[in-house]
Symmetry: C2
Subunit: 392 residues, 2 copies
């Protein structure tokens, strides 16, 4: 592991993590869950590092985490023994899932369709009749309309019945229900997010209560998305919720700032980039961070015209300067404040600047290593992150 | 290297390359350059593999290639001795650039500002006064307004004068000029692209002629972008152009199809993905290819309403089914043809489908390995690609 004393010696583009901010974000979310009397099962997909994963569960009795791919699950078995793979399980992934499940206490899987159940049953029947049984969550559609069974449908109750009372019940340990309020990223005000938090808690919590009332087990009722977890109602537990599962909050980003979920001081990640050329005639300059450093996520485009659009990030310390466009390896910086003149004396070719990206989950996934900043903005370590879709 | 007989055995998401199509795309572009009497200096940034790089220069006397980062340059030194790093050179990258330059025949660098020149001179003065001199291209802004010096400005001529006649001339070998017509991706018809091709050839070609008329050398006048290279005028050489430098054409993609630069049969890359759950009530299903497989590039949004927007890819064989939304690891598929019912019998959970992505350069960069398909759509090999921003 190479240690660098100074940011100025780093190759660009690279990613910087402010350890103090990240630790504080993790602690704040744990405190929030504690105050509300619910558990926290944090998501690892934003950072994909063992170290930050540990901050997310620091001091917790139950160290349970969530991942978005089986490769991530495998990576995190090094540190965690209770992992939820939070995407509906497809038949081609069942063998690998079972291997990981057998390696640790539990790899929980996600289902929302009868075909998931039958393929899990078929696998266990064909390969390991006396082995470990599956541990599953039922995904509930709380209004986001991505994955999840409809809580209003009788079919959804029947899925629970099938794995808890029917002939298949011996193959399953039912963990409860889970929803994800990804539509919170389309809200325009904190008030709207707060309303949506109540809605998700009510929809998912009520379905959990209904299961219990019908005599089914439902040990976990899990809701989340970072925006919603920043605006949880005080009566969360009374609504039937037992845990929250945010992920992005470890880093936050420009989207979370613009949605009103955090301040700039809460953002724990930035991309270090270098000015590669300047064009004073056009009042623009270019940096070496493009789509393959920042990602192409356009962020909260729905907040236009209050938010300059398109826009792929802001410069730390110069919030009126934004990344107007990204191409593969280049970002174009413009002034968004009435095109006021850029102070080019501060942005000569070779100058290093820090960008806050729109979407830290996608930005972080572009890098295999994060440089850790101490309180003096010096680099005092590196974090190795799991990178998806890559093998050597 | 693991060889798989069948697509159905591959883990998803993964990327598939149709070798025959790619070879044909490479040959067609070489033939086009030959017919027009110009050279071709192909870009490697789309695929980042040694093998496809070789197809791009097959049979050429001058095997000269282009890269978009110095790490890519380093990777391609294994196969090529003449490489152009086509992004303005920033001072922090000069040491690494010089090392690579000394390893091969030439690593050409790109300049468009006097500060690039002075920092190159300073480096060579400080470290290697008797060593190898720099080889540089001057980037010209042909109307795209990203990188490039203004060809109308007297300042631009003075940059050439400085490196060819002044006190600094002993440090430089001037290779000529280079422009990139990235604005071709914002055209709406092939006719517009053809017009833009003539414009780029005229602007850059005329500046090259002007340099020659003023007594300066200008051995190479290089233009390109895949759209423009698909619609080159017959009198390209007369306009003053000596070479073209396309890159995306090895794979093409949905953007190139929608712009009218290729047909679906010319697309050499697809993402293999699995149906993870189905929602017939909503007439939607989900696949395991999201932003970290396809990228978040929204493609030719300017072609709306003729093109469904947003839209992150189409399903091979089912062009009315499109990826409406991507989140980190999930794509949502909808029917775009009047919301006609999806034939769910063909898209059961576990079904593997192939997606044509919007932007193959960004999609390919998400993967470290490409599976090569033979003419029977069987997998008969793998290509290892260079992945950016990752180190182990």
């Amino acid at each position: 592991m190479v240690h660098h004393d100074k940011i100025k010696d780093l190759n660009t583009p690279c990613i910087l993590v402010d350890e103090k901010v990240v630790k504080n974000n993790c602690k704040s979310m744990i405190d929030r869950a504690n105050q509300l009397g619910v558990d926290i099962r944090p998501h690892m997909k934003t950072h994909k590092t063992i170290e930050i994963g540990k901050y997310q569960v620091e001091g917790l009795k139950n160290q349970r985490v969530i991942v978005s791919t089986l490769s991530e699950a495998k990576f995190f078995t090094k540190a965690f023994k209770d992992i939820l793979y939070a995407i509906p399980i497809s038949p081609n992934k069942i063998s690998q899932a079972y291997e990981i499940h057998c390696e640790i206490d539990r790899l929980h899987l996600m289902i929302d369709h009868i075909d998931h159940i039958t393929s899990l049953v078929n696998h266990i029947k064909q390969t390991n009749i006396n082995g470990k049984i599956w541990s599953v969550f039922l995904k509930i559609d709380c209004g986001y309309h991505r994955a999840g069974a409809n809580p209003e449908s009788e079919e959804t109750i029947r899925l629970v019945d099938l794995i808890t009372h029917g002939e298949y019940s011996k193959y399953f340990e039912f963990q409860g229900i889970y929803s994800h309020s990804g539509h919170s990223y389309k809200c325009t005000t904190p008030q709207e997010i707060k309303k949506l938090a109540i809605q998700e808690a009510t929809v998912t919590g009520s379905f959990g209560k209904k299961l219990l009332a019908c005599g089914y087990p439902c040990p976990n009722v899990s809701i989340g998305s970072t925006p919603v977890c920043c605006h949880l109602p005080d009566n969360l537990k009374d609504l039937g919720v037992t845990e929250i599962h945010p992920g992005n909050y470890v880093f936050y980003d420009l989207m979370q700032m613009e949605l009103g979920n955090c301040s700039v001081d809460d953002v724990g990640v930035s991309v270090l980039t270098t000015v590669i050329s300047v064009y004073p005639d056009r009042n623009e300059f270019l940096v070496d961070a493009g789509s393959l450093a920042l990602s192409s996520d356009p962020g909260c485009t729905h907040l236009a015209p209050n938010r300059p659009t398109p826009n792929f990030g802001i410069i730390v310390g110069h919030p009126n300067l934004r990344v107007l466009a990204v191409t593969q390896e280049i970002g174009k910086i413009v002034s968004t404040c009435d095109n006021s003149p850029i102070p080019f004396d501060h942005f000569k070719i070779g100058t290093k600047i820090r960008l806050i990206p729109n979407h830290s989950c996608l930005t972080a996934a572009m890098f295999s290593h994060f440089y850790v900043l101490d309180s003096h903005d010096d680099v005092n370590g590196e974090l190795k992150s799991f990178v998806p879709n890559k093998h050597w």
